[in-house]
């Protein structure tokens, strides 16, 4: 099939809108329609990945208009991998979160699925497109739908968290748009590959420099790199579980992907690392981000919020690796996009299961959880080991490449930050394990107002997905060599 690239984006879009229509006709059909759309999307993504691995990058002309006038989808190994990741996680999450969405969102849930699918249309479109302005529009689709979903969560704090998210999100996207404006002024083109060719000889141009700074700054704000992270923890903590599970693994990783795309395809290594020579400054920034994320995570009492600060720290990993300016660092950053998405997904699946049964997840509420929810906790432990970086889970291997990259460049401070951050994560998770394992549940008879709360294991549909994803962490760990050799190294050549 020629049209798989279009199907990846169009299937969730059309089914999302259809599901919205079916709210008035037959509510129960919304869910299967949305699920089918995401299935078609992830199936097409896998087909595209196979095709790209066999016969090189695909160029898809949207509507038959050839670039640079028309909008072009350009898929190489990097975004084929990210496409599979996004559509796969979205599909699995929809199955895993069916029960929890019904519980949390209530009777509005069938119209919620429309927003969910539009959000994924945005993420997939951002990943697949080869056009700078199209990228902006899709970022805004992603952002607008995520603002809406954040506000659907916690009734008290959700709207305020969402409003703060809007303010920062608008600044980020506007900076990016401004940068694209400067690029257009200089080149008269919006197609990424075309722009890359046209700016090649103009190393000293201040227009290109301004465009570069504005684009990268905008994307950094969007991905919540350390000084710009303030919106992320509240937005992710107060959103409904079904959304937190998909936004935490995917949103920041897709933004990292955009940064890589701008660095590799549009501006080029030579411009960034030789002409501007920004590598050292940004690696320092990333080092601070890694440490600051870890330290702030230590101060949190709520499990969900603690995990969001770990995400802030993980963004530092990827930015640092990407700006290292050598192949090892870049390999680590790309591998970490995959691994971090998987392990954050596994963590949030486990936390979602806890929220489904006990509502509040302050760390002190988790007493004796190993006995009551053994399977959920098994998944949680695996994911936590992967975040800490215990071999053979996948988190170890990407961290290994990042540290090797830092050593090769001589950026010992970054390597040290990675190791310290692993230690901080170990402390954090073992603190949680200790409470969950050793202290028995306090929901005893003396709290007569609560009544004896019998916590039991989460529903099977949630457990199966949680278990599968947690096991995939080990599988991804064992195959990380193969992933590096078949996807990342051929891409970087």
């Amino acid at each position: 099939m020629e049209n798989y690239p279009a199907l990846i984006v169009v299937a969730p879009f059309v089914t999302g809108l259809l599901a919205g229509l079916f709210v008035w006709i037959e509510k129960r059909l919304s869910y299967p329609i949305v699920l089918a759309g995401l299935f078609i999307s992830s199936f097409s993504a896998v087909q595209v990945l196979i095709r790209v691995m066999e016969s090189g990058p695909i160029q898809y002309k949207m509507g038959g208009w050839s670039p640079p006038i028309g909008i072009e989808y350009r898929i190489d190994l990097l975004n084929a991998m990210v496409l599979c990741l996004v559509s796969g996680i979205a599909f699995l999450n929809l199955i895993a979160s069916y029960r929890s969405a019904e519980k949390e969102i209530g009777d509005r849930v069938s119209s919620y699925y429309t927003v969910y699918n539009l959000f994924l249309t945005g993420l997939l479109g951002v990943t697949i497109t080869g056009d700078l302005f199209n990228l902006y529009v899709l970022i805004e689709i992603t952002s607008l739908t995520s603002y809406a979903q954040v506000a659907m969560g916690d009734r008290d704090r959700g709207p305020l968290a969402s409003l703060n998210y809007i303010f920062i999100g608008v600044i980020g996207a506007s900076f990016y748009l401004l940068g694209v404006g400067y690029l257009y002024m200089y080149t008269g083109s919006l197609n990424m590959a075309d722009v890359a060719v046209l700016i090649k000889g103009s190393q000293g141009s201040s227009t290109v420099l301004v465009a570069f700074i504005l684009c990268i700054l905008g994307i950094w704000i969007k991905m919540a790199l350390f000084p710009f992270h303030v919106w992320l923890p509240n937005a992710y903590t107060y959103s409904p579980v079904i959304f937190a599970r998909v936004v935490a693994p995917l949103m920041t990783k897709v933004m990292v992907y955009i940064m890589l795309r701008l660095m590799i395809t549009v501006f080029g290594y030579d411009y960034i690392f030789n002409t501007l020579n920004l590598s050292d400054a940004v690696v320092w920034l990333a080092t601070i981000a890694v440490l600051a994320g870890g330290v702030m995570a230590l101060a949190q009492k709520n499990l969900k919020k603690m995990l969001t600060y770990i995400i802030v720290s993980e963004i530092g990993y990827m930015v640092g690796g990407a700006w290292m300016g050598n192949q090892l660092g870049m390999t680590g950053a790309i591998l970490h996009i995959l691994n971090d998405a998987l392990m954050t997904f596994a963590l949030f699946l486990a936390v979602g299961n806890m929220v489904y049964r006990i509502d509040r997840v302050d760390i002190t509420d988790l007493k004796g959880l190993f006995g009551k929810m053994p399977w959920t906790m098994a998944g949680f432990v695996l994911a936590a080991f992967s975040i800490v970086g215990v071999p053979p889970t996948c988190g170890f291997f990407s961290k290994w490449y990042l540290i090797l990259g830092a050593m090769e460049k001589g950026a010992y401070h970054f390597a040290a930050a990675l190791i310290i951050s692993s230690l901080i994560c170990a402390v954090l998770f073992f603190k949680v394990f200790e409470i969950c394992f050793f202290e028995s549940g306090s929901h005893g008879h003396d709290h007569s107002s609560h009544g004896p709360v019998a916590i039991e294991e989460a529903p099977v549909s949630m457990l199966i997905i949680s278990g599968l994803v947690s096991l995939s962490l080990i599988v991804a760990g064992f195959y990380s060599g193969a992933i590096v050799n078949t996807i990342i190294l051929p891409f970087l050549k």
Binding site: F133, Y136, V137, E140, L144, Y147, A148, A151, R155, D156, R157, P159, L160, S162, L163, I166, F167, V170, I171, S174, L177, L178, G181, Y184, M185
Partner: protein
């Protein structure tokens, strides 16, 4: 001095958009009232729309509609006679985005007011730390 002045006058469209953008940014950061912040955000986005439209402008050029239909008979269409339509077209999308964001932010402000009976940020922060 006159050099600086002529620089400002020659590139007045950029100065205008930067000033507007800073006004918007100031509103978003310094104002205490949520509605004022939202309006600041809208000014910020409008500044960028202005920037885009202004870079499509050419002196002594008309609207980009070709009136002479028979280009085959030797009538040459010169690009310099028409302003660049693409930037304005792009901004149609950006306007839609900014209207949607503005409307949604206002709706959220209503929800926050219903819940907390205030839109002042310091009062909201006080209420949140009490709970």
């Amino acid at each position: 001095m006159s050099d600086v002045l002529s620089l400002i006058i020659a590139k007045y469209n950029y100065w205008l958009y930067v000033i507007l953008m800073m006004i918007g940014l100031y509103g978003m950061i310094a104002k205490n009232n949520l509605i004022k912040k939202v309006v600041g955000m809208n000014i910020f986005q409008t500044a960028i729309i202005l920037f885009y439209v202004s870079i499509g402008y050419k002196t002594n050029a008309g609207i980009p509609i070709i009136t002479t239909a028979d280009t085959a008979h030797g009538v040459v269409v010169k690009a310099a006679d028409y302003i660049n339509p693409l930037t304005s077209c792009l901004m149609l999308t950006a306007i839609v985005v900014s209207v949607a964001t503005f409307g949604y932010a206002m709706a959220l402000a209503v929800r926050i007011y219903q819940r907390y009976q205030t839109l002042e940020e310091d009062e909201l922060r006080m209420r949140l730390s009490e709970e």
